[in-house]
């Protein structure tokens, strides 16, 4: 009996502790960072860009990162809390991050609704690739990219446009900080220019290399670095590979001498390995978004550098 009581009281203390910790964490946050602008981003890349521009005036949170598929994110209670407190959101749009839009709706926070001052149209001015043509009202089988390819941030040129869109919007909402934001944007774009030039030079002898991608994730990236994408493992964006599609793809890859298969860490590696065995193209795992806790991938520029070096390593290993 006594032992049972002891366990029960211990359990109570543990639970109480958890509740208290939770309350403190909320209270602590609202006291310490009272004056910063709260920005919520669906992915690490946009958060990184916003941090570079907002500097110490912003408090940016990303809800997903390169380890997860940005198309599908499991909503958690904390995400809605972030939305309720957000002053600015930086969605991806083009129907990629529907979950992020559901969170905005659920938050009932008018500051961040589409069309409000806190809603940034991130891709304004970006040339969107692969915009499909179809009749309105007809059901479309497959295709999670109904408004064109939404993975636009992986081209460094587009990252600069995104940075300017964020700068413009932040300056509109907080005109007193405009000079500060503009200066930061200039520095950030300078850094991208520098990295861009270095990487292009490093990569120049591999330009024109042929690749297969799992999903249409790296289309903009490949476009920028002159990698020729020959096809995708997915027959349509979002539709898992079928046996007949894979065998057709393998034929095409042999004919075109495709050297690498690029895919993100959350894709089905078995499909990639099977295709690699038939065609001897090298599986090359790339990231489509930065990952704060991994040093080599900690921000956008690191991410682009990581991807380019990974591809070079794959091709060099193969051509030896």
């Amino acid at each position: 009996m006594r032992k049972q009581k002891k366990i029960a009281s211990l359990a109570k203390i543990v639970l109480l502790n958890q509740v208290l910790l939770f309350l403190f964490s909320i209270l602590g946050k609202s006291v310490g960072e009272a004056k910063k602008i709260k920005v919520v981003s669906p992915i690490c890349t946009f958060a990184d860009i916003a941090k570079n521009i907002g500097g110490d005036r912003v408090d940016v949170i990303n809800l997903s990162d390169g380890l997860n598929d940005p198309h599908f994110v499991e909503p958690k209670p904390s995400m809605i809390i972030h939305m309720i407190n957000a002053e600015v959101v930086i969605p991806i749009g083009l129907r990629l991050d529907m979950w992020f839009f559901s969170l905005i709706e659920k938050s009932a926070n008018p500051k961040i609704f589409e069309g409000s001052s806190g809603f940034i149209r991130t891709y304004e001015g970006v040339r969107i690739l692969e915009v499909p043509e179809y009749k309105i009202g007809q059901p479309r089988i497959g295709d999670i990219h109904p408004e064109g390819n939404p993975h636009y941030w992986l081209s460094p040129d587009n990252a600069k446009i995104i940075a300017m869109n964020i700068t413009k919007k932040l300056s509109e909402i907080y005109p007193e900080e405009k000079g500060y934001f503009m200066k930061n944007a200039e520095i950030f774009i300078g850094k991208i220019d520098e990295a861009e030039e270095d990487l292009k030079k490093e990569f120049s002898r591999f330009e024109g290399v042929k690749a297969i991608q799992y999903h249409k994730t790296f289309t903009y990236f490949a476009d920028f670095f002159k990698i020729k994408i020959v096809g995708e493992l997915e027959p349509y964006p979002g539709i898992p590979p079928t046996p007949s599609h894979i065998s057709q793809l393998a034929e095409k890859m042999k004919k075109e001498r495709v050297e690498i298969i690029i895919y993100e860490p959350f894709r089905n590696k078995k499909d990639v390995e099977r295709l690699s065995k038939i065609t001897s193209a090298t599986p090359t795992e790339l990231y489509a978004d930065c990952v704060p806790q991994i040093n080599e991938l900690k921000d956008y520029i690191s991410l682009i550098r990581y991807n380019i070096r990974k591809i070079m390593m794959s091709i060099e290993g193969k051509r030896k």
Binding site: F72, P75, P77, S102, R140, D143
Partner: protein, 267 residues
């Protein structure tokens, strides 16, 4: 303290929908258990899911109502099929329902493979997006459940006529189609079956309904609390707690059985 109020305001609709889900599903769960066809639960839930995914295949951006209608049609159809076989022996019934489950699941997978664009909606239907439930959803669903609950009280039919079985399975289909689209197949299935199983292990048959309600309620409260405090996806947390209780009950029951055996041996 501003944030705590926020959390409550967003959790409350989800919590209330769980309460009305418990009220109707645990009831259906006990009835299903009496019929000895536990798999009918998930077979009907899966056929409702199949119907809704077909709506996505046939129409561009179907409305909630249209999706619901397809779910109902499909589950009533499969309910009819199941009720037509209820006179047979238990082994056949279970086997038949297993076949229906396998069929509806494979068809769902085929339909899903054709639905790239909408597969995120569909995915939410499977795992549940209970956090996004609005007050409007809560009221609509509760009204449906209320009407069906009243119908069941009025038409308390004797078991095992085809009409009574059809009435049972079609109203069950109506309920499940609505709840699957709100809370996902997994949570619906858990509410239907896990509390009843747990209570059967611990309490006498007289208290089955009451104790199942209590078990479902307690796991829901604990699940919601854990989800908010530790920031876990809500529906899977509730399901895990519910099943944890089942395993605790199983453990207690095994010990009881062991003791009984020992007593028998010694006497």
């Amino acid at each position: 303290m501003h944030e705590l109020k926020d959390i409550l305001s967003l959790i409350l609709p989800a919590f209330f929908i769980s309460l009305s889900l418990i009220l109707i599903h645990v009831y259906f769960g006990t009835k299903i258990f009496e019929r000895g066809v536990i798999f009918a639960d998930i077979a009907i839930a899966q056929s409702a899911f199949l119907g809704s995914s077909i709506a996505f295949l046939l129409f561009d951006n179907p409305s909630k109502e249209l999706t619901y209608l397809f779910g109902v049609l499909s589950s009533v159809l499969f309910g009819l099929l199941i009720s037509s076989q209820m006179k047979r022996e238990v082994v056949f019934k279970e086997g038949f329902i297993g076949v229906i489950y396998a069929l509806t699941s494979s068809l769902s997978i085929i339909v899903l493979s054709k639905l790239g664009r909408e597969s995120e909606h569909i995915r939410y239907m499977l795992t549940g997006n209970i956090l996004f439930v609005s007050w409007e959803d809560v009221i609509k669903a509760s009204l449906i459940y209320l009407v069906i609950g009243i119908l069941h009280i009025i038409f308390k039919m004797k078991k095992e006529s085809f009409v009574s079985e059809f009435f049972f399975f079609s109203t069950f289909g109506l309920v499940v189609s609505s709840s699957v689209s709100l809370a996902g197949v997994l949570l619906v299935f858990s509410y239907l079956i896990v509390p009843v199983l747990t209570s059967k292990l611990l309490f006498s048959p007289r208290y089955t309904l009451l104790s199942s309600y209590l078990i479902a309620l307690i796991s829901t409260i604990i699940g919601f609390t854990l989800s908010v405090v530790n920031d876990l996806p809500t529906a899977p947390t509730v399901i895990s707690v519910c099943i944890l209780f089942f395993f605790i009950a199983l453990f207690i029951d095994s010990i009881k059985n062991l003791k009984k055996k020992k007593q028998k041996l010694s006497s």
